[in-house]
């Protein structure tokens, strides 16, 4: 039997439950209680595409040093689902802990002898206390929370306060929940030597940070950024973004007196219609967006091309998942990079933003609305299930009260009336971005006909080759302008000079940051660059050319970002070593460390061995 794991404020607790058993709120309560103790934590739902009955997991990462990505491995497993017992037991680290419902005796063969087994008679306690089967089920979850509170030495008043907040308005539920919590605690204190090797000690490390999901934050960013039209079609994991927009608008976007809505939300008949409505609204001068996932992006292709060629702003949130509909709809991936970057027919390419967490999702949502208006083109906010649907601990959201919306180049009545020349596709300022007019502006000036590419600079119909080429060249010019105004990549240099670099983006960020510390402890130093947008800023090419080898870390099978980087920057693919994680679960720090260390061992055998401890 290995030593039981001992750790204060640095471990992983995983809950294995049955979907629909009411465990979600108890598990969330656990994560929030840790935060209320001032200890940084993050949580991840791993759930099936189903409403009731299938396995679901909730993983909580607790870490004093703010390593809040997935680490890999589990120190404490709360195994409440007999269906997944084997796999749950197997995931526990040697010396780790298993908490299970010991009401029914289990043969010794079903356990491991290198873990610490805690059998709590949860069902028995429930049956003794409650007669209603629904209550027995629900309170079992709170009882195991009570057991954990004793085992991990949690701050009980913090949990009690949270229970009070959760049931505010349904006050009659507070007392029974507190009672259930106490039942679990009492049993643990009586039966075991609490606390265990894993312990929580209050800290003051959470600060003013907030615990939110990316979808909620992005929806709020759309509200702050001035979106008035949202058209969408339900698809996991993006639906909660549109639903959150609805909820935020209901509270924040009513005309004070009349209570009428300063927004319009349409649940469209499909994704073709959603993007069509967004394009129609944006053509007519409203800020509009849609939220979807990979299959929706596939359906939107034709319209995205039209918006690109006709130069119409559109904001598309792509909450990426393990694609097709019968793929892994409830699992995470970064696998729409290519299909978004080059969405549609003909020569098209699009602006993509890659937020790293819910905080950046908020900022980028508002930025995307500005960029789409400025560039008159579709802008994708490339999130994923991990960012979108999980609560992350992030800095509070900030809004500069002096911020003005950038509505881009729109000629108004005065411009037109004063006789300023208007040609819808004229490059007046040399940045590739033309001026547009909105329908209804002026009785005799500024009207034009919107269509794809059969047009000249004055939007007159023509199928002439030179006019087509002229327009396509200007679109490239515009893409160059985009490069200068999209969020720049962020570089972080290693403490020591190194020949190696790593590029990553999106939800990989926290796991990557932890991996860098772990690698550094092993004497492996990497400069890093976090890509935040496409088209690629020149910094990215500089970063690649100034390192001998670059590890490109991403969450898909085909190295899609690597393909995009090689194609667009015309770099030798051999310089970019793919580090790929794509099983549908969020990437872990341990995975990155192992993959990079293994690769380095292969590519630079001799010198590296010396470097390793």
């Amino acid at each position: 039997m290995p030593q039981p794991i001992k750790s204060v404020n640095d471990f992983v607790v995983k809950f294995a439950n049955v979907n629909g058993s009411g465990s979600a709120s108890a598990n969330a309560l656990f994560a929030k209680s840790v935060l209320r103790m001032g200890i940084p934590a993050s949580s991840r739902n791993i759930f099936p595409s189903n409403i009731q009955g299938l396995p679901t997991w909730f993983e909580v990462r607790i870490n004093d040093h703010d390593h809040l990505g997935r680490r890999g491995g589990v120190d404490m497993m709360v195994a409440m689902n007999p269906q997944t017992w084997e796999q749950d037991i197997a995931e526990i680290e040697p010396g780790g802990y298993l908490l299970y419902d010991a009401t029914k005796p289990m043969p010794a063969s079903r356990f491991r002898d290198d873990i610490n087994v805690i059998g709590a008679p949860l069902t028995e306690i429930c049956n003794r206390t409650y007669s209603d089967p629904r209550q027995r089920q629900l309170f079992k979850n709170i009882i195991y929370l009570g057991v954990l509170s004793a085992l991990l030495d949690m701050d009980v008043p913090a949990i009690e306060t949270l229970i009070g907040e959760q049931f505010r308005g349904k006050d009659s539920l507070i007392k029974p929940n507190l009672h259930a919590l106490q039942l679990g605690r009492d049993w643990a204190i009586q039966a075991l030597d609490c606390p265990l090797g894993l312990r929580l000690e209050p800290r003051d490390k959470v600060g003013d940070r907030i615990f939110v999901s990316g979808n909620d934050a992005a929806a709020l960013g759309a509200v702050y950024g001035g979106a008035t039209v949202c058209a969408w079609y339900p698809i996991t994991p993006s639906s909660s973004l549109a639903e959150a927009f609805q909820a935020h608008c209901q509270r924040m976007r009513r005309e004070p007196d009349s209570k009428k809505r300063r927004y319009a939300i349409i649940q469209a008949e499909d994704e073709l219609a959603s993007i069509g409505m967004v394009i129609g609204a944006a053509w007519n001068g409203a800020r509009a967006f849609t939220a979807t996932s990979g299959p929706g992006i596939s359906l939107m292709q034709e319209f995205i091309g039209l918006a690109y060629f006709a130069e119409i702003p559109a904001v598309i949130f792509d909450i990426q998942r393990g694609s097709p509909s019968t793929g892994m709809p409830t699992r995470t991936q970064q696998a729409d990079i290519i299909s978004a970057a080059y969405a549609s027919h003909g020569d098209t390419k699009h602006v993509l933003l890659f937020p790293q967490d819910p905080n950046e999702s908020f900022t980028f949502a508002a930025d995307a609305l500005d960029l789409a208006d400025r560039l008159q083109t579709p802008v994708f906010v490339m999130m994923d299930l991990d960012i979108g649907m999980n609560d992350w601990l992030v800095p509070p959201l900030k809004w500069d009260p002096a911020r003005q919306y950038d509505r881009g180049k729109i000629m108004n009545f005065e411009d037109l009336d004063s006789g300023k020349e208007f040609g819808r596709y004229l490059d007046v300022d040399g940045d590739g971005i033309p001026y547009r007019t909105l329908p209804g502006t002026h009785p005799t000036r500024g009207a034009y006909f919107t269509r794809g590419t059969t047009k000249d600079r004055y939007a007159r119909y023509t199928e002439e080759g030179p006019a087509y080429v002229d327009n396509m060249q200007r679109l490239l010019e515009k893409f160059e302008t985009a490069k200068r105004i999209v969020p720049r990549p962020i570089r972080r240099d290693a403490i020591e000079q190194t020949r190696y670099g790593a590029i990553y983006f999106g939800s990989t960020a926290p796991a990557m940051e932890e991996a860098l510390d772990l690698l550094e402890a092993r004497g492996i130093h990497l400069d890093t660059l976090r890509v935040r947008a496409f088209p690629f800023h020149d910094d990215i090419l500089d970063f690649i050319t100034s390192h001998e080898r670059i590890f490109l870390v991403e969450q898909n099978r085909d190295g899609q970002m690597r393909t995009l980087v090689t194609t667009e920057l015309e770099v030798d693919p051999a310089r970019l070593v793919p580090i790929l994680h794509y099983d549908g679960t969020p990437i872990t720090a341990r995975f990155i460390v192992k993959a990079i260390a293994d690769m380095l061992a292969v590519v630079t055998l001799a010198p590296l061995r010396k470097a390793l401890p």
Partner: protein, 351 residues
């Protein structure tokens, strides 16, 4: 092929409307459709209707899908913004445009392929949403632009120019529009300007989803004897239920119609529709009987034309959504951005 611009010289004696505009101010560039194409007659009717209503052209937005029919917005209302979108998807673009600015007049122009084949879904959903618009289908029973394949309104048993025989049942968009809740439903014929112009005028004044199916023969691919979308067939089998006289309230003159044959309908904006009844048993306020009548006449081989259904106070999408009175595209930071205080409250609630 290059855009043909019409000379903008006005004859000093051209008649003007209440806004001082002449008929020419409502025209577009010269049509490039086949000579004799029914679609051109519809464009002419749209021009006439807008002129007679004295609409400021720039307050109209014209949107279309793809097809010969969908090209026509270039040939009328040159002072209006237009949008040639993608095949079958005009309804969603129009819906979005309408969401952004409820103050403009939206004219959706489509074909039978555009609306009944590839775009049937969007057609249905924008009607059931009650988008305030005039939705015109220029119905020739074929795909004109791609040279004569069947559309979903083609007659069962009809044969295409290249010999294929259509074995599928036709879709009647009028029946669908009735069923889907359109609050103004009409059918007409491109060759019957006297009937078509008042129908378009009334549809424009109508608040809500107004649908007009206009049978519009394709001289290149579908004007042979036996086609229910040919000139001859419609002339011979036209069963007009009523004839519409449309008048704006300010010049409502009491016309001297024989009692019992004229029916006046007050539109949302106070303007009047006068229906001269041809079929005495026809009541345009009954959705269900409209459907029945339509199908009875169809079974008898007749094409029912006229105003089939109207419900003046049906309301529209903005009403259902309860959006503010000012167009959403006119709202700025002051109305849209909740500001730092609310954000701080949001932060606090997530700690």
């Amino acid at each position: 092929m290059t855009y043909i611009v019409k000379p903008r010289l006005h004859h000093p004696k051209l008649p003007t409307n209440a806004l001082g505009y002449t008929h020419r101010d409502y025209e577009g560039s010269v049509s490039t459709l086949c000579a004799g194409c029914g679609h051109d007659s519809i464009s002419a009717a749209i021009i006439q209707a807008c002129f007679e209503l004295s609409l400021p052209p720039h307050r109209i937005a014209k949107l279309s899908g793809i097809g010969c029919s969908s090209k026509t917005p270039t040939y009328f209302l040159g002072q209006s913004h237009g949008f040639n979108s993608v095949h079958g998807r005009m309804p969603s673009v129009l819906t979005g445009a309408n969401l952004a600015n409820r103050d403009l007049i939206y004219l959706g122009v489509s074909g039978d392929g555009d609306s009944a084949s590839i775009g049937l879904g969007q057609f249905a959903h924008c009607i059931r949403r009650g988008v305030d618009m005039v939705y015109i289908v220029e119905n020739n029973g074929v795909y004109g632009l791609t040279k004569g394949q069947f559309s979903a309104t083609a007659d069962k048993g009809s044969s295409a120019k290249r010999g294929a025989v259509n074995s599928d049942s036709p879709i009647d968009l009028v029946a669908m529009a009735l069923q889907l809740g359109a609050s103004y439903v009409a059918r007409s014929f491109s060759g019957d300007k006297a009937q078509l112009v008042p129908l378009i005028k009334a549809a424009i004044q109508h608040k809500g989803a107004a649908f007009i199916d206009v049978v519009s023969p394709c001289v290149a691919f579908n004007n042979h004897p036996g086609s229910t979308k040919s000139f001859d067939y419609v002339r011979d089998h036209n069963e007009a239920v009523n004839q519409l006289d449309y008048m704006v309230e300010r010049d409502a003159i009491v016309a001297d119609y024989a009692p019992g044959t004229v029916e006046t309908v007050m539109q949302h904006d106070g303007s009047m529709l006068r229906l001269r009844k041809l079929a005495l048993d026809y009541d345009p306020h009954e959705r269900i009987s409209a459907l029945t009548y339509l199908q009875q006449r169809q079974a008898a081989g007749e094409v029912v034309t006229g105003l089939l259904f109207v419900e003046a106070d049906h309301g529209d999408m903005h009403g259902y959504l309860d959006t503010v009175d000012s167009p959403l595209n006119t709202l700025g930071e002051a109305e849209l951005c909740p500001g730092p205080d609310l954000l701080e409250r949001y932060n606090a609630a997530h700690r």
